[in-house]
Symmetry: C2
Subunit: 421 residues, 2 copies
């Protein structure tokens, strides 16, 4: 720890108040949030976080994909040490996923401001556009453009589940900014996040030290069959798009169980057409979400899914089109960053566990352009993307204090001469 | 055949024109129709058919469930010999299903009017409300109330897929009439209908003589699981409502194939909630349509479906509620009516085949209160509930001529004294 700030602590009550205030925007029954990316609710959430950034004296920039970065100057110029995450949610989201990383970043800034602590390098807090991918594919869209993986022009034309485009919605909500993308790479990137899985909670551990992020493969499958009367069409003469969809649902579960390890598989979205009780569906659209920590296993799962689809095509005489909605290889974090998080967490007297992330995060995109780390705090019963998502206040506080001390070390924090803690 | 009318024939061009005119209402791409029961399109179709009934001199009554009956007086008073069917369609319906039976009835009336033929008993043409069940369950709603099987008060409160009730919609479109239900039973009932299956077309036969209607069982299944993150929730800890739905789709197909015979099974409608690519569904709703010509086989299929549901409940730790949307036992038609249709079809020089109906029809409800019969004409490739539904004009003409001569015999048709054909 840099001189004179080793006993610095965040204000847990203030962080909880900001979490609660942001959660009132897009609030849904049961205590969760619905702030789909670039919706009116997302705009209101962005406006509130920008107001807080301004009150903390940060210089705010908005880039062309709507990522927002607030910067606190250092004694030197140059790229900042960045904390960040996202504030968009899924349609039935909780109040911690993403929001915690952003608001804990602001809490670190306010803690340093109050204590009169300066840093050698600038400090930044960022929130990235459309991390969830619940309205526009792919997820992690903002950080993908920020780091230059996806070209801006293509992404702006992407249409969402309601048919409108990313570009139209950025303009509509006033977050089509002029900061250039790809952006200058930060000096380092640290993301505090809830685990969103049950491991830390079940094992009673305070802090997850994230070593890698699972690879993710999202496929949309569209099946075209023949619509016909449900009573008069013998089973042997059917080209049933709905049955083919059901077969895929059953297949991916069996495959994931058979593969074991970290493999998970989910069919989360489906639609039948015309979707009537007595009509054999002539069209079905569904999505398959496959994840694995090992790239070769993920490829094997994808290949097995495509083989099943090809077999269905022949057996049911349906046409099947597959479209990749998102594909990310597993991402390892820089070992020195992982070690840094672990060391600071232990220095705070917290228990730790190294683990992969089962979910995708903006940090995995930043890891390609700068040293990056993630700090996980426990999710009660692992609930996430669910209004029951919850993290105990003492875990929120612990995670934010680890973020504070990690950022202080990375940015070179010190009290100015003559100031004593 | 009664005296002096044996060479009477319907006007095929006029019947085709009425079919085409009615098909313009709710027309959809590909030549089909969307006139969901009690929709604005259904109202426009009803208005047109009522206008034609008025032009033919029929006395029109509308009952409290919106069934419309147009009566041509006979020499005697008393219950009429009735032709009928329905004019509502599924959302992707054709132009013949239902409409043919109603408009062929009008064509019979106009043929008799032109030829100056009187009948001993009144002749009626009816169209029944919501035969399809595509918006409100159960199907054959109008004929169920007409024949006293379902109580009017309950049916009026039934809510459809858009949440509005049958009663509200009847009032809205102006077809909440004041004729009493249950209605007086007709003297006899004859329904001309397209087969809606591939049998007559494949075998090259002109007329299907319908001996019975398959039993129908519709079940809505609602599954409640736990919504969670698709990446971080191990397969073993999931309570996945979507997977349970997929398992049911796969099961009913396997069961129907294993049972063989006339058993068919269809999952035509499904919805997931929240229906997002990266969220394990916490709720899924789907429908299962089971049909069989044998009541004990249909019961067995229902029992096997419920056993599968119970096993899923335990295995996946989900809650599952099942609700019967419709249930009809197989219905045999009166043998003397079947024989009558067969005799007249052959007298016209047409080939015939006895067969069951795989679809439900209003005739099966009328069969409980009077002698009833159905006349099938071929559906090209068996397409129905599909814009590709088609019946060749020569088969339409043949079916309507069989309807004419069957109705003439049942109603006691004769030219008045002094008129010679």
């Amino acid at each position: 720890m840099t001189s004179g700030i080793s006993n610095l602590k965040i204000n847990a009550g203030r962080l909880q108040r900001r979490l609660a205030d942001l959660a009132t925007i897009g609030a849904i029954d049961g205590g969760g949030c619905a702030r789909l990316a670039l919706s009116d609710e997302d705009k209101a959430g962005r406006d509130l976080v920008c107001r807080w950034m301004g009150e903390l004296g940060l210089s705010i920039t908005v880039d062309a994909i709507g990522n927002v970065v607030g910067v606190r100057p250092g004694r030197q110029a140059g790229p900042p040490v960045m904390a960040g995450s996202h504030i968009d949610t899924v349609r039935t989201g909780g109040r911690f996923d993403g929001n915690l990383g952003v608001l804990a970043g602001l809490e670190v800034i306010e803690t340093l401001n109050e204590a009169g602590v300066e840093t050698e390098h600038p400090l930044a807090v960022a929130f990235f556009t459309n991390e969830e991918g619940a309205r526009f594919a792919p997820d992690m869209m903002g950080s993908l453009v920020f780091t230059g993986v996806l070209p801006l022009a293509d992404v702006l034309q992407t249409r969402g589940i309601d048919g409108s485009s990313v570009g139209e919605n950025l303009t509509r909500i006033g977050y089509a900014g002029n900061a250039p993308v790809p952006a200058q790479s930060p000096r380092a990137y640290v993301e505090l996040h809830i685990e969103q899985g049950p491991v830390l909670d079940h094992e009673g551990i305070d802090i997850g030290v994230v070593e890698s992020v699972q690879g993710i493969s999202w496929t949309e499958i569209e099946i075209a069959g023949v619509s016909n009367h449900a009573g008069t069409t013998p089973m042997s003469l059917r080209c049933d798009a709905g049955w083919a969809a059901g077969s895929i649902i059953a297949f991916v579960r069996e495959m994931a169980e058979e593969m074991g390890g970290s493999q998970v598989a989910t069919v989360g979205r489906i639609e039948f057409f015309p979707n009537l009780v007595n009509v054999v569906p002539n069209r079905a659209v569904l999505t398959v979400d496959l994840r694995n920590t090992r790239e070769e296993s993920l490829r094997s799962a994808e290949a097995r899914l495509l083989a099943h689809v090809a077999a269905l095509r022949d057996a049911e005489k349906v046409q099947i089109a597959t479209r990749c909605l998102a594909r990310f290889e597993p991402v390892p974090f820089a070992p020195e960053m992982t070690a840094l998080v672990e060391r600071h967490a232990r220095a705070h007297g917290l228990t730790t566990r190294r683990m992969p992330s089962g979910a995708g995060h903006d940090a995995q995109m930043l890891a390609a352009v700068c040293p990056a780390a993630m700090i996980f705090v426990p999710s009660v019963e692992g609930f996430s993307h669910n209004v029951r998502e919850f993290t105990h206040p003492h875990h929120i506080e612990a995670g934010a204090n680890v973020l504070l001390s990690v950022l202080c070390e990375l940015a070179g924090a010190a009290k100015p001469a003559g100031v004593h803690s």
